[in-house]
């Protein structure tokens, strides 16, 4: 038994015992499960298993630590009200927020941060990672790390544009349906039902087959398909508010429906809507990446994450992991957005007695 294995188990057992002694049942559960699982995996696969478990554990711990520090930092820096809000964030949400902010900074300052150009061919095809090329090179010999940063720019910009557009359309139509009511509501709702009945990816593929391929068409198609989900939520929320007395009062006062939408309904549904916007954004990233992966989204040589997976997928067979980096980037960003959304949704649920 090597020193590493000995140290590994000593640490785990000491950790579990400490957790049990201080009655931290969750921490104890995690640690002792890992201890038992390590024994089993160790017998099956040897030391590799310990390293794998160790690395996973260390990265989770690092993420939790970062999340903790970031939350404390934000609570310290932000003004009174915002800092109280931040205090309620669980570790997952504050870590998610941190990653989102870092990704956004990378995307905004891509030109300054990326060591090489987006389309600059700097080396051989699929070179392994070195100090110069942090993640190796891609299928044409371009620097993978630089393209990942430029890809963040394209992917986030397009997903954000589609998210904002779909949100605006969906909100506007759903509030109009709820406020005006009658046949307007009927027509809009039935059209929406029809669109909801078609699976999104199939819908997008059929439409993209017929339309010219450019970025504006792409954003518009994504937005129109996605607004159906926003419409459904928006209408459900607005219908509840339209029947309230203060809306009735506004109507009797003679306010138009424009006022009712922006002054009476919107302020009351803002929190669930922000959470929904996060969900739509995460969905837009995944959807855009899927389309690009199928070769129908953003067209090369523009770098975007889904397209980069497609470009480098043939390398997988030669054990070149280039296609996995952009895939991991998409997954991490989407997980982080979802963790923040989860926090916001839980907040609205607890504020509104389970509804949201």
């Amino acid at each position: 038994m090597s020193l590493f294995v000995f140290g590994y188990f000593t640490l785990l057992i000491a950790g579990s015992s400490a957790a049990a002694y201080y009655k931290r049942s969750e921490a104890f559960g995690v640690l002792f499960t890992v201890t038992l699982a390590s024994m089993l995996f160790g017998i099956l696969w040897g030391q590799v298993a310990f390293w794998t478990v160790g690395i996973i554990f260390a990265s989770l711990a690092a993420a939790a630590g970062l999340g903790y520090c970031f939350r404390a930092y934000m609570v310290m820096l932000l003004p009174e009200q915002a800092s109280r809000f931040m205090k309620s964030a669980p570790l997952t949400a504050s870590f998610g927020l941190l990653v989102i902010i870092i990704t956004l900074l990378f995307a905004i300052f891509a030109e300054q941060i990326a060591p090489f150009g987006e389309r600059q061919i700097v080396g051989d095809v699929w070179e392994p990672a070195t100090a110069e090329f942090l993640l190796g090179t891609d299928n044409l010999g371009r620097d993978m790390f630089s393209r990942l940063i430029y890809g963040a720019q394209t992917t986030i910009a397009v997903a954000l544009a589609a998210g904002i557009l779909s949100f605006s359309i969906g909100m506007f139509l759903s509030f109009t349906a709820a406020v005006v009511g009658g046949w307007v509501d009927q027509v809009l709702s039935r059209i929406n039902d029809l669109m909801l009945a078609i699976p999104t990816l199939i819908f997008a593929l059929v439409v993209l087959a017929a339309l010219p391929q450019n970025i504006f068409v792409l954003v518009a198609v994504m937005a129109v398909i996605d607004q159906t989900r926003v419409f459904r939520l928006g209408r459900a929320l607005a219908i509840d508010i339209v029947v309230q007395d203060y809306v009735e009062a506004a109507r009797l006062r003679g306010e138009g429906w424009f006022w009712i939408i922006f002054r009476e309904i919107l302020p009351n549904v803002l929190t669930p809507l922000i959470a929904e916007f996060g969900l739509r954004f995460a969905f837009a990233i995944l959807f855009l990446s899927s389309l690009s992966f199928l070769g129908l989204g953003i067209q090369p040589p523009e770098a975007d994450w889904g397209g980069m997976v497609k470009d480098n997928k043939d390398g997988i067979i030669f054990l070149v992991p280039a296609a996995l980096y952009p895939g991991a980037a998409i997954a991490i960003l989407a997980v982080c957005v979802n963790m923040v959304v989860d926090w916001l949704l839980n907040r609205t649920a607890s504020l509104k007695g389970g509804r949201g």
């Binding site: 593929l205 889904g306 997976v309 054990l319 998409i330 997980v335």
Partner: protein, 325 residues
């Protein structure tokens, strides 16, 4: 509520749901056909590219039947679809129907293998999560399912290919071509990795929805009443919770099967699997409209029928509707 036509409440509800389903399919066929026709981007012009003289365009349009009025073409197409004739591919003049049914069988095989594993695992995990509600296993399942929902299909797929097929030598990587006949046990092992990818993709959704559905029931007043009057937990679950839980669980399962059939598109492209998704995507790339319409119709049809079954199943299993006052 619609008029009863002398039927019981359940039967009339079912008739209503099935009717809506067929209306939806009809509406979507019209949308697919007319919508695609109205959009800009003329195939004849695309097809000819640089050599698009007006006469050549007119010839191609005539050859493909594009010069006839749209209603005539729609009715002709719809009649063909109903008899299994989807017309000819523009790209290679082959019959769309033949290709489609061969590939549909491959796709359904893959989806079925995935469903056989995904359904019991996810319903089971959903129940485990409810049982350990707000305790460690629930949190772990929650975080893992959140991660699985956020991962794009192709990332999971290539991760599986990289680690399992290439590093550990378990399962096959692309291209995966099922031996004939498709529906045989020998092919189950062959499609292990694409099926596993699909399982991960739907598992999280299905599990979360199962958990929510069961929690919804466990929170209701009659369960609390039963607990308070001292009935033991197993009896509460067996006599009070389970009969009411079947309906939402059937609903969840059918909804996710619909989702699975669509998720197949990306997974087939990853694993170069000769199914309908691959066929569809290839046709979209070269704008082969008859194939696009046919695939779109079949995918949308399967999706709507499964959604309809979700409704029908949950109505049939709902004790409150089956035993009206």
């Amino acid at each position: 509520m619609a008029k009863n036509f002398g039927l019981g409440p359940v039967a009339s509800l079912l008739v209503q749901r099935i009717g809506i389903g067929f209306l939806l399919i009809l509406a979507i066929s019209a949308l697919l056909f007319i919508g695609v026709e109205m959009l800009p981007g003329d195939f004849a012009r695309n097809y000819l590219g640089q050599s698009a003289t007006p006469e050549a365009v007119a010839n191609i349009r005539k050859e493909l039947g594009l010069d006839q009025p749209i209603i005539t073409r729609y009715l002709g197409w719809l009649g063909g679809v109903l008899t299994g004739d989807f017309g000819q591919s523009w790209a290679n003049k082959a019959s769309v129907g033949d290709q489609l049914f061969k590939r549909l069988s491959n796709t359904l095989f893959l989806a079925t293998v995935a469903a056989v594993f995904a359904v019991p695992i996810s319903v089971g995990l959903g129940m485990v999560a409810v049982f350990f509600r707000n305790k460690l296993p629930d949190h772990v399942i929650n975080i893992l399912s959140l991660a699985a929902i956020s991962m794009p299909e192709f990332f999971i797929g290539y991760l599986f290919i990289f680690f399992f097929a290439l590093l550990l030598g378990i399962g096959d990587g692309p291209p995966i071509i099922p031996g004939s006949p498709t529906w045989s046990l020998g092919n189950v092992g062959l499609v292990a990795l694409p099926a596993a990818t699909l399982v991960v993709v739907v598992l999280a959704h299905m599990m979360r929805m199962t958990r929510a559905a069961i929690l919804n029931i466990m929170d209701s007043a009659y369960i609390e009443t039963a607990e308070l009057k001292g009935v033991n937990m197993m009896t509460v679950i067996r006599k009070h919770a389970a009969p009411n839980a079947i309906s939402p669980i059937i609903n969840v399962v059918a909804l996710n099967l619909a989702y699975l059939v669509v998720g197949v598109v990306v997974v087939e492209v990853i694993f170069a699997y000769p199914g309908m998704g691959q066929y569809f995507v290839d046709a979209v790339r070269v704008r082969d409209m008859p194939v696009v319409q046919a695939c779109g119709m079949v995918f949308a049809g399967v999706y709507i029928v499964l959604n309809m079954l979700a409704d029908v199943g949950s109505i049939m299993a709902n004790p409150r509707l089956m035993h009206p006052k």
